[in-house]
């Protein structure tokens, strides 16, 4: 595929439809600026995990203008961020999308001088290492997507400008019910253990599921991948053919797509072991069902959220977008998402807004000294419970691979389709 060969002839879906729809749309858009007022809100898009009423109304209270948020599914967020950057000022997106977003210049480079707490943003994205000596990890490591010049072109190293501000992040691995597995799970290879035949589930997002599956194969020494976040066609073929054999053997119970489905699979006892997100493990425990979050010796699969500003934002809207992003880094929002089980890029600010008991549990990996609530005030963590996977630093010391969109993405989706249909 030719990379960005014909930028000038690029037509976004929006522009195209707009053109077809004719003057009606155009005139209504032109009509709006006349009623811009001081309280005029900015528009933010993101997934349901960050576009939350509580967060936005607090932001509005703190910064004096409204945030009109739109929560989308991953695919819709990807598409809208890429094709309709006139429809948002801030996209609360993910660094794994940036191979598509950065070359197509849908964002404007962010001036770190305008980010108040830039020096408090952790090194996880700045250098790729949260603590010195950490492993950067394969795939779309956020550090490789961060730095750009003032025109938005990627640079080799640190620069004054960045593609987007690092935000919430986490490391995912396997969740299991110790009663069903009968032993502790400490390797991705257990995904294919014959002991769990018919009781294993994978995430059904091709780009992510394929990495979990590859980690398992690699752990068993069945294959070696150059970069699990950017596989070659031959590597994808090896992996998919192995998965097809396993599927035909009846090894997989299901493939889940949403957070809720993964919780359901575990709570109902349908699976013993599956790809899982850390907050889903917490949700299963909250239902009174045993579920442990594995810390595989091969490392976890990381993902990292980002706050990006549309290239179309200018003037007052641009100032507001910066203001909103600065507010995110200020700590209140970081504390909010911490109680959902996510980490935030300004841990020192988060700590200021989080009671010690919560901080110790979520960031330090210590036993809960009291019953802890989720961000909405519902009891979530029993006294004495310990967060699986250890402290924040331990988790991010060894990221095996970051969520990625491969160059061979189309081929991957095609083969994944074949796998599911086999």
């Amino acid at each position: 595929m030719a990379k960005n060969k014909k930028t000038s002839s690029k037509v976004s879906r929006r522009q195209f439809v707009g053109g077809a729809a004719g003057a009606v749309a155009a005139s209504s858009v032109v009509g709006f600026p006349a009623i811009v007022s001081a309280a005029d809100p900015i528009r933010a898009i993101g997934l349901g995990v960050s576009i939350i009423n509580e967060i936005q109304s607090r932001a509005a209270k703190d910064i004096g203008f409204g945030i009109r948020g739109q929560a989308l599914g991953y695919g819709a967020l990807f598409g809208k961020t890429l094709n309709q950057n006139d429809q948002y000022e801030v996209s609360e997106c993910y660094f794994d999308m940036f191979d598509a977003m950065v070359p197509s210049k849908v964002f404007q480079p962010i001036d770190t001088k305008r980010i108040r707490d830039w020096d408090k943003v952790s090194n996880l994205v700045k250098t790729g290492m949260l603590t010195p000596g950490s492993q950067i990890g394969q795939g779309d490591a956020p550090v490789t997507k961060l730095w750009v010049d003032k025109d938005g072109n990627p640079t080799d190293g640190p620069s004054r400008y960045i593609s987007a501000v690092p935000a919430a992040h986490n490391a995912d691995s396997l969740g299991y019910n110790p009663d069903d597995t009968g032993r502790a799970i400490d390797s991705w290879g257990e995904l294919y253990s014959p002991d769990f035949k018919g009781k294993v589930a994978l995430i059904n997002v091709p780009q992510v599921g394929v990495m979990d599956a590859a980690m398992g194969m690699e752990a068993l020494g069945l294959a070696k991948f150059g970069d699990k976040g950017d596989m070659t066609r031959a590597e994808i073929d090896t992996l998919i053919e192995f998965l097809i054999v396993k599927k035909k053997e009846g090894h997989f119970r299901a493939f889940w797509e949403t957070f809720g489905q993964s919780v359901n699979l575990m709570v109902s006892g349908e699976v013993a072991l599956q790809s899982m997100w850390s907050p889903a493990v917490t949700a299963v425990n909250a239902e009174g069902v045993k579920c442990v979050y594995a810390s595989p010796k091969e490392g976890m699969r990381g993902w990292h959220g980002a706050l990006a500003i549309s290239a179309k934002a200018s003037g007052k809207k641009l100032d507001q977008a910066y203001e909103y992003i600065n507010w995110w880094l200020d700590g209140w929002a970081g504390a909010f998402v911490a109680r959902q089980g996510y980490y935030f890029s300004t841990p020192a600010n988060t700590q200021k807004h989080l009671p010690k008991a919560d901080w110790d549990f979520w960031y330090e990996g210590k036993p809960a000294s009291m019953e802890l609530n989720d961000p909405f005030g519902t009891p979530l963590i029993a006294k004495g419970a310990v967060r699986d996977g250890g402290s924040y630093e331990q988790r991010f010391k060894k990221i095996a691979v970051w969520n990625s969109i491969m160059k061979e993405n189309d081929y991957l989706v095609k083969r994944w389709t074949e796998f599911l249909g086999a």
């Binding site: 695919g75 890429l82 094709n83 191979d99 598509a100 977003m101 589930a201 249909g421």
Partner: protein, 326 residues
Amino acid sequence: MTEVRETHHSGLIGSQPVPDETVIRAKIINPEEGFSTGWLIAPATIWLFLILVVPLAAIIVFSFFKSTPHGMVFELTTHSYAEFFITEGFFDSESNSFLKLSVFIKTLGATIYFTLLTMILCLIVGYPIAYFLAMQVQQFKWQLALFLLCMVPFWTSYLIRAVAWLPMLGRRGLINQALLSMGIVDKPVSFLFYSEFGYMMALVQIYVVLGIGPIFFSLAKIDKAFLEAAVDMGATPFQIFREIIGPMSLPGVAIGMIFIFVMIMGEFATAVVVYGGKTSTTGTVILNYYGIANYPFAAVNALMLMVAMIVGIVIILRVVDIRKEL
């Protein structure tokens, strides 16, 4: 079938006595009264144009756009169609993909297979229910009450109905618990759920009502006098069904099957919830490519699905001439 109209009828929804032709003329064709035809069809036409014709045209146009890793580019190409139809190495007699059907054709084939299977099952399950309602239940109020009972599942949301199978069919579900406690099995059976069996069962449960309705109505329209006449002439129950009831209920069967066909061809949610995503349907392919913003390829799949649906409907209508029958 036009003779039916002239006979007296005792069925539930029989045809009305035909009024005098001059009365019809006077009522319907009076240009002085009310709105002209143009005005009457305008709202529906505008509506359909905006929500059907324009988006459909857009889908056709997008299907010829070029997809790149960073969005759709206005550069006309048939690449997405080639991707849909042709496997790499398709024309290469050396390749092991030589003349092998592409993944997407196979997926469409699987979609059609599941759809046909469900249609057959819905007919087998639905027809007797409709027959019972229309022929065996004598009183109108009971017909209505039982018909509404069939609709009860529609009172809850689609997703709840699909999810509700888990506590019933799951590993720790009611059926497994019953089997275990009766000592029929010694460990839970897993074929009930996240399986083709469970998938079929859920599809039939969800969509069978769409078949029962039209079949019930066409059965109820059958003039009971025909059946009495047949009995008087010494026809066996099987003959009556084969010669009278069967043919006269065909329009209902056809309409019911069209409803079910169209609904299941576009299905993807049940496959995810009840089959655990263990199959690919053209619906899931569209979703996956939409998810990576490859709109041209999603559009091609949507169009191919539509073509398959149109072909299916034409075939059904070829078998049963609905206009003649109604």
